[in-house]
Structure formats: structure tokens, C-alpha cells
């Protein structure tokens, strides 16, 4: 027999279930809308990369290419002198991606490796010897919060004027860092260093100092302790940090735009230069480059996700 209380209880339960279901639907709707909002430009970029010139700015917009073509990809991946069929009218612009890709790979890899190396040792010093005092690690992160535009112009003045002038006055040799690999690698290393230090600190702090004490008592010197004990234990963290910093450098635009041209050209800068006198902005090749550039970032993002879990869970150290 069901009593009035049972009925009331059942009604309350069903109201709660309905509320929970509605809440769930609402949450998913918001997340889906947000995903669509975020993913739309990427979809548009990939779609445009397969469109021919006529469809780039067609109205009403062609969501998917009506006549899909690989023309844009053929253009950006072309070798040597441009085939006349791939050439655009009235433009002297080089369309190929190779120079930009090479420069970007060189600069980003070198800067990320250098940053990782310096940052790891700095983080070790901060973690173990309390270098810089109690609040130093926060100060470091604060440096990273300064927008690059604030430093871009001053660095340009240093690179293009002060350093060349000073070196030629002092040593009789004019050394300019403007539009050089070294110059860009240095500025990328410096701007990402706070990130490396901050990330490596979290990993190094996790390594119990008794492991180092044990190694030292067994006769290992400080460098041996680092090489045989600390670095192997934070290797996963170093991989994550490298990938993270590499993505930052890979996507950097403002400093590269300000401090290079025309000798060194990274992909982000190259992307910006795609226009012709006859056709204006060359959205197709730009979209193709954009797609090509995004692929490694996506792969690295997935790698980071996998390593991050591993990196943070030593799981084997008894505390």
C-alpha cells in the first residue's frame, strides 16, 4: 500500500531527477556551444585550405569547398622555381613554406632546448638552495606576465642599434642581433625561461632530498647526483616542459615580426606575408599553412597530456 508520504517522496524524487537531468543537459549545451565557438575558426581554416581562390570570400559563405582542391597545398609545398600553373598573377612573393618551416624548427628547437637546460638548472638551484629567497619563484612568474609588446621595441633598439654600435665602438666589429637566428633564439629563450623554471620547480620539488643525500653519501659529487638521480626522475617533466615551451615559441608572432626580416622568417611571420597585388590576401595558402602549422601543435598537445600524468606521478617514492 502506498501512503501519502510515499507519494510525496516519489514526487520529490522525480522532481530532483528532472532537475538533475535538466542541469546535465544545460551543462552539455554550454560545453557544446563553447566547443563550437572555439573550434569554428579551426574548421574554417581547414575548409578554406581546400578551396580555390573564387570560394575564399564567396557570399553566401561556402561552409565546405564546392570544388575541393589541393592547389593551396601544392603551392606551399612546391620546390624550386614556382610552376607557372601554381603561380599567382602579379606577385613576386615566394609562396613556399620550406624556408619558414626550417627557420621556425631551428629557432624553436634551439630556444626550447636552451631554455629547458638553463631553466632546469635554475629551478634546481631555487628548489634546493632557496636562491633568491622565499618569494623568488613568484617573482619569476610575474616577469612572464609582462606583455611582449612592452619589451619588443626596447629589444629592437638594443638589437638593431645599441649592440651593433657598442660592439663596433669597443671591438671594432659590428655585431647585430637583428634578423639573426641567434638573436631570435636568445629572445625566445629569455621570454620562455620563467615558464621553464616554474614548471621544472614543481617537478624538482617532488624529488625527496634524501635521495640526493643518499647518493652523496655513496660518493657521488653534486653533478653526478644531478645526472644520475635528479634528472632521470624529472625526465618526464622535462619532456612536458619542452613540448609546452616549444608550442609557445612555435606560435610566437610579435617578437619574430619585430626582430626579424627578411633573413629569418618564422612560420607565423610568413603566414602574415601572404598577399598578392592582384588578389589581395591569399587566404587559401594561408589556411593551408595554418593547417600544416597546427598539426604538430595538436600532436604535442596530446603528448603533453599523456606525459603530464606520468610527469606528476612518480608514485614510487615513499614519503
Amino acid at each position: 500500500m502506498t501512503t501519502a508520504a510515499d507519494v510525496a517522496g516519489e514526487a520529490a524524487r522525480s522532481r530532483r531527477r528532472r532537475r538533475e537531468r535538466l542541469g546535465k543537459i544545460g551543462r552539455h549545451a554550454i560545453l557544446l556551444a563553447w566547443t563550437a565557438f572555439i573550434a569554428f575558426p579551426i574548421f574554417w581554416m581547414v575548409s578554406t585550405s581546400f578551396k580555390d581562390a573564387g570560394e575564399w570570400v564567396a557570399w553566401p559563405p561556402h561552409w565546405l569547398p564546392h570544388e575541393p582542391t589541393l592547389h593551396n597545398y601544392a603551392q606551399i609545398f612546391a620546390f624550386g622555381a614556382l610552376d607557372p600553373t601554381l603561380s599567382r598573377q602579379a606577385t613576386e612573393q615566394a609562396f613556399t613554406i620550406w624556408k619558414g618551416l626550417g627557420d621556425a624548427l631551428l629557432v624553436c628547437t634551439a630556444a626550447s632546448l636552451l631554455g629547458l637546460l638553463l631553466g632546469t638548472f635554475l629551478a634546481y638551484a631555487i628548489s634546493r638552495f632557496n636562491v633568491g629567497g622565499k618569494y623568488f619563484r613568484h617573482t619569476i612568474l610575474m616577469i612572464r606576465m609582462i606583455p611582449p609588446i612592452v619589451v619588443a621595441i626596447s629589444i629592437l633598439i638594443y638589437y638593431a642599434i645599441i649592440i651593433p654600435y657598442a660592439t663596433s665602438a669597443l671591438f671594432g666589429v659590428r655585431i647585430s642581433l637583428f634578423d639573426t637566428y641567434v638573436g631570435l633564439i636568445l629572445i625566445y629563450t629569455v621570454t620562455t625561461l620563467p615558464f621553464v623554471i616554474w614548471m621544472m620547480l614543481t617537478f624538482i620539488d617532488e624529488v625527496p632530498y634524501t635521495l640526493e643525500h643518499a647518493a652523496r653519501l655513496m660518493g657521488a659529487g653534486r653533478l653526478q647526483v644531478l645526472r644520475r638521480v635528479v634528472l632521470p626522475l624529472v625526465a618526464s617533466g622535462m619532456v612536458v616542459t619542452f613540448l609546452f615551451v616549444f608550442i609557445l615559441n612555435w606560435a610566437e608572432f610579435l617578437l619574430a615580426l619585430t626582430l626579424t626580416h627578411p633573413e629569418v622568417t618564422t612560420l607565423t611571420v610568413l603566414l602574415n606575408k601572404f598577399q598578392s597585388a592582384a588578389e589581395g590576401r591569399l587566404y587559401g595558402p594561408q589556411a593551408a599553412i595554418g593547417t600544416v602549422v597546427t598539426v604538430p601543435v595538436v600532436i604535442m598537445g596530446l603528448l603533453i597530456q599523456k606525459h603530464l600524468v606520468k610527469g606528476f606521478s612518480f608514485g614510487t617514492i615513499r614519503k
Binding site: A214, R216, G219, G221, Q224, V229, P232, G315, T316
Partner: protein, 360 residues
């Protein structure tokens, strides 16, 4: 083989003095245990011996050489840490071989010595495993094997058994004692567990607030504690303490305090008469209801704790004073029952109420 001398060792961290003027001679081949509550400076002292901490002042002499400025790895010491500090990214074999590898010993010799050390600690089947695959007791043995493989003259151990369960801890105590007998090396062992100290040590150093309270054999420490702190630190349950004064009775010296009158040995120094003292007596020297002997003062049983071989009787000795007696298991007592008690006069310890120093 090496003896160790600590000469007026001081270590301060800023304004906090962790170790204040410790002087100690550790004999060659001795099993010395440093014991005391957390923060008493025992681990800091051990770390100074190992070279992981630099003394603020004073010197450390190992085998006749002052080693203050010698790197930890060059002092000829082996150390077992509280968390064992096994390298999680290396196999058990590599963990044990680590000290030999950094010393650039040949691979053939490494293999032979690691195998020998593993055999000595009965862990040969573990050599290919990772430390995370070892149980607590196995990890303990790996840590010991890693220490013995380099043949150190001195073993330092910082509460190595604290992470083990009670049974394993007792087993490992025996194992360590056996190892010490076999290696004949100097062992300096830090613990806060008085049972470990009593069972394993040749001599015990009791520390408190950065100072040595007493140095002696386990039985000396137990039977003649030099201070009230040592008296209270050793023994389970804790020694009973009563404040009062020594009085000269017709039959001999008498302790009077809190309504209790307790005869004291006639051999008591005469200058103690009339003086305020703290009387300490262990629970096994409290006689209840004449079970152990004549009893005189009245009390009320509050709580009985039968432990099988003995029973602990917590009783009210008047004026809200609670005492504990350790009596044979069959007492016939019940909670709330009236009882009478007396202390064994020859086992009464007298301390200065101010300094805590022993007076008799």
C-alpha cells in the same frame, strides 16, 4: 674500523639552536643509539657526522682525522635513511651497485659484491625488481644491502625502522643486531623509540633540547636515570613522579608529599634532609595491597589494564594524584576498590625539582 669523536658540536639555524655543545666519544665497533623526542637534535647530530650538515662550531673526528670539511662521500660512512631513499628509477641491483658505480669499480667486481651483499641480506630474488615492487621489509633489506656493499667503517641509521609495522620492526631489530655482530663496524643509530634503544644498543645517548642528558648502557639508563627527563622518557608506563620533601624520621629518612609518607634508604646523603625533591618510582616498584610486599598508604583503584603477563593498576593516591603500579596478573582488584600501596625504597629516584638532576 673507526671511532668517532664529537667535540663541542653546535648547530644553529638562524636563531634556533638545534644542537648545543654536544661532546661524545663513539668507540670503534660500538652500537650507539641516540634517542630523544622529536626536535631534540639527534638527527641534526647524525647529519653533521655524515657531512650533510655543516656544524656551526665544534669538530667531528673520524678515525683520528677532523672531517669537518670532508665531503660526505669521502668520510667512509654508510647511511640508512628514515624513508630509505631507494632510487625509484633504478632496479634493486642498480640501487645496491650505485655506490660502487660512482667509485668506478669494475663491472665484474660490482656484480660479485652486489650479489654478496644481496645474499647477506637474503634479497637475491629481488635484484631485478624495482623498489616500488618491494614490500616494506624487503625495501629495508635493500637499503641495508646498499649500505653494506661499500664496506663502510661506520653505519649511520636515521630511524630506519619507523616505517615498518610492529612485528617486522621487532624482526629487523634482531637482524640489525646480528648484522652489527657480523660486520663489527661502528653503528650510530637514531630513534625516538626507547624499546629499540634498549634492545639493540651497547650504549645509549639520551638527548633533549639539543643537549646530551645522559650517556650510558641501557641498564644504567633504566636503573639510574641521570635526570628527571631520562627517567620519564624510558620505561612503559612512564615513571610515577611526586613532589615533596625529604624529612628525617625516627626510623630513617622519609619522603613526605601529597599526603604520602614513604621511607627512603638509610644510605641517603644527609644533606638532602629538609630539601624539596621530586620522587620518581617505576610502576614495577609500586607495591599494591602487599602483593609485592608490605604496603601502607591508602588509595583507590581507578582503571585496570590487564596485559597478560602483568596488570597495570591506575589508582588515585589522594589529592587527585594518579599513580600506576605494575602488578602480577591476578590482583583481585576492581575499579573503585580501596587499596594500599608503598614504593620499594631502594628503587626510589630523587630529582631536583628545578634542574631535574638526580640527587641520590
Amino acid at each position: 674500523m673507526a671511532g668517532i669523536a664529537l667535540q663541542n658540536l653546535v648547530k644553529s639555524f638562524g636563531s634556533y639552536v638545534a644542537v648545543s655543545g654536544v661532546s661524545l666519544d663513539v668507540r670503534d665497533g660500538e652500537f650507539l643509539i641516540m634517542v630523544g623526542p622529536s626536535g631534540c637534535g639527534k638527527t641534526t647530530t647524525l647529519n653533521m657526522i655524515s657531512g650533510l650538515e655543516t656544524p656551526t662550531s665544534g669538530s667531528i673526528v673520524i678515525g683520528g682525522t677532523v672531517v669537518n670539511d670532508v665531503e660526505p662521500g669521502e668520510r667512509g660512512l654508510g647511511m640508512v635513511f628514515q624513508d630509505l631513499a631507494l632510487f625509484p628509477h633504478m632496479t634493486v641491483f642498480e640501487n645496491i651497485a650505485f655506490g660502487l658505480r660512482v667509485r668506478k669499480v669494475s663491472s665484474a667486481e660490482i656484480k660479485a659484491r652486489v650479489t654478496a651483499a644481496a645474499e647477506a641480506m637474503h634479497i637475491q630474488p629481488l635484484l631485478a625488481k624495482m623498489p616500488r615492487q618491494c614490500s616494506g621489509g624487503e625495501s629495508q633489506r635493500v637499503a641495508l644491502a646498499r649500505t653494506i656493499v661499500t664496506n663502510p667503517a661506520v653505519f649511520l641509521m636515521d630511524e630506519p625502522l619507523s616505517s615498518l609495522d610492529a612485528k617486522l620492526r621487532v624482526d629487523m631489530r634482531t637482524e640489525l643486531k646480528r648484522l652489527h655482530g657480523k660486520l663489527k663496524a661502528t653503528f650510530i643509530y637514531v630513534t625516538h623509540d626507547q624499546a629499540e634503544a634498549m634492545t639493540m644498543a651497547d650504549r645509549i645517548v639520551v638527548m633533549s633540547k639539543g643537549k646530551i642528558e645522559q650517556l650510558g648502557t641501557p641498564l644504567e639508563i633504566y636503573n639510574r636515570p641521570a635526570t628527571r627527563f631520562v627517567a620519564g622518557f624510558f620505561g612503559t608506563p612512564t615513571m610515577n613522579f611526586l613532589d615533596g620533601a625529604v624529612d628525617g624520621g625516627a626510623t630513617g629518612p622519609l619522603f613526605r608529599g601529597g599526603g604520602i609518607e614513604q621511607p627512603l634508604p638509610a644510605s641517603l646523603p644527609a644533606d638532602l634532609r629538609g630539601r624539596s625533591i621530586t620522587l620518581g618510582v617505576r610502576s614495577e616498584h609500586v607495591m599494591v595491597n602487599g602483593i609485592n610486599g608490605a604496603a601502607s598508604s591508602p588509595g583507590t583503584a581507578r582503571l585496570l589494564e590487564p596485559l597478560g603477563d602483568v596488570t597495570l593498576v591506575h589508582f588515585d593516591a589522594g589529592e587527585g594524584r594518579s599513580l600506576v603500579a605494575k602488578v602480577p596478573p591476578v590482583t583481585g582488584l576492581a575499579s573503585g576498590a580501596a587499596l594500599s600501596f608503598e614504593f620499594a625504597a631502594e628503587h626510589c629516584h630523587l630529582f631536583d625539582p628545578g634542574t631535574g638532576q638526580r640527587l641520590n
